[in-house]
Symmetry: C2
Subunit: 330 residues, 2 copies
């Protein structure tokens, strides 16, 4: 038995730059039809010129024929002219609260100063992608940020707001309340809780932001995704770090799941008897919510087991050493 996926999309991806980009890009460009590229580079992608340059770099690193790099701008206040110029070359604008995660130092520190740009985005139908965490206690950050989401969703009812990498039951409930709100969920947040990160040994390879939460949160995310929630789509948040930045004192946040995302998702959906919903989660919802027409690309998964390697280049993948049931046919 094979699974055939039509134009799978990763709606939240970190490809980094330089040699890391070259190392990791093929894992996504080879097995996805498109991905939303996060703009938090060392120098944030905050101009059309940077978008173009980064997109070229990505295409040079991967397979550009059958892969759409859906570019994002790093949120700051943009003028109407800037947005008009950029609109057709981006899928949306990614907002980071200042200092909340890797390379977000130049993010938004005062949410009362951004309404003009948001209003322009609403008018021009440019989606707003949000890393929705406060700078409070680590387990409360997503919940605390819901008040910001609430204000945005109500003030800009036609702005498409995407709650990125949601991790809590409260966030799932929130998505239901506003028709202009969507969400992405990662692979790992469908699989782990905080227990996996710090319940036994401390596991740097499962350390990510937002941190995995409680068992009830995991269940809520799984319930939503495995029941075919109409506004929750897949975004891996795959975020490679070189090995030495994960093992030294003070480990960097990020899980590299690009190479295993499709086989593992197939397992998860199969385990709950809902393989019929995988296409939805991996592509159709995103196409509908964003109005996308990705490159036609069929990816076939074969039931051939394989062991996830310990390293891809310098990066340890999610699930390293684990035997998976589904392989991507080459």
């Amino acid at each position: 038995m094979n699974i055939v996926l039509n134009s799978p999309l990763d709606m939240h991806l970190h490809l980094r730059e330089g040699t890391m980009l070259q190392d990791v890009a093929p894992f996504t460009t080879g097995s996805f039809a498109g991905a939303v590229i996060m703009p938090n580079l060392v120098s944030p992608v905050d101009s059309l010129e940077k978008v173009r340059r980064y997109k070229e770099e990505i295409h040079a690193a991967g397979n550009s024929d059958s892969f759409a790099a859906y570019m994002t701008l790093f949120f700051k206040n943009y003028t109407r002219a800037e947005l008009i110029a950029a609109k057709d070359e981006i899928i949306g604008i990614k907002l980071y609260p200042a200092g909340i995660t890797t390379r977000s130092e130049s993010g938004v520190s005062n949410f009362s100063t951004i309404d003009e740009t948001l209003s322009l985005m609403e008018e021009m139908e440019i989606p707003l992608l949000v890393h929705g965490e406060s700078n409070g206690f680590v387990l409360d950050r997503e919940r605390e940020f819901l008040t910001v989401y609430e204000r945005l969703a109500e003030t800009f009812p036609k702005l498409h707001i995407i709650m990125e990498h949601i991790t809590t039951a409260e966030a799932v409930e929130f998505v239901d309340r506003y028709p202009n709100v969507s969400a992405t969920v990662t692979l790992h947040h469908l699989m782990i809780t905080l227990d996996d990160v710090i319940g036994g040994l401390m596991e740097p390879d499962l350390f990510c932001k937002p941190i995995a939460k409680r068992p009830e949160d995991l269940e809520s995310l799984r319930d939503a995704v495995f029941s075919g929630h109409e506004r929750i789509m897949f975004g891996s948040d795959s975020a490679p770090h070189p090995r030495h930045k994960k093992e030294c004192c003070g480990c960097a946040a990020g899980i590299f799941s690009a190479p295993v995302a499709l086989p593992m998702l197939a397992e998860l959906f199969e385990d709950v008897g809902r393989l019929d919903l995988l296409q939805n989660f991996i592509s159709d919802i995103a196409c509908k919510r964003y109005g996308l027409h990705p490159p036609e690309k069929q990816i076939t998964l074969e039931k051939i087991s394989w062991e996830v390697p310990e390293l891809y280049g310098k990066v340890k993948p999610f699930g390293a050493g684990r035997t998976l049931r589904w392989s991507i046919a080459r």
Copy 2:
């Protein structure tokens, strides 16, 4: 201004074995009059013979003249004869739920099979020291174990039960409910929350069991200790691991605070204007609750600032690199 502490005691200490014991013992034997020595060695200290041998090893490593090594047996079911023989050479028996922390594999897995030993301990007035965690979700373990504490405290009302290294507001409330229950609190649980462990980078040096909890829990512990709670005493849970076991993938749990405990506690009590309660916390409560008469030993803290080194031998101490206001006079 100096602070003079009379016979400071560390009521929960891991000294390990072999060269590690030799490396770390002097930090405690030099500045404390006594310490309760945990029995979770590679081969648990579960016989009088092992108690004696370990005590000799400790005295050989440290200063035995002015230091009392209060030995503990590793809890298992003991006979009346064994307990009678051991009684005068131990301060109590330490119970670990099986597999709950470092080297606890041979701990208790079935709490319904231990009543006979507990009854003997109650009769002979041998205290029961408990690592009180369930094997549930990492943040719920202490709370879930309260039902076990409750049964023990009610079934054996004359058994002195010590809740070791408590970390939650619920545990503080629990102590208040039973006159036969005491608790120890570590230095680090008076200072950090989970935010410090995983809120920014992942910090292996702040990884310990029980894991640090929420801000409300920290506040509750601080409120209890800094108001002179009559049944909560100091136990560092200082637990050295060689550097390479803290930085490699899958870090070991444990914080090494012995060298900094007294100066840092002085800072904490001074910061809240309650230096008058330090003697209580560091010795008097333990003497009263356990009926101890430790060696007479005055430790003087001088207001001379110093920087905590990055390493003591192979072990990174709590507060490495931090400048402390109080020094132990030598």
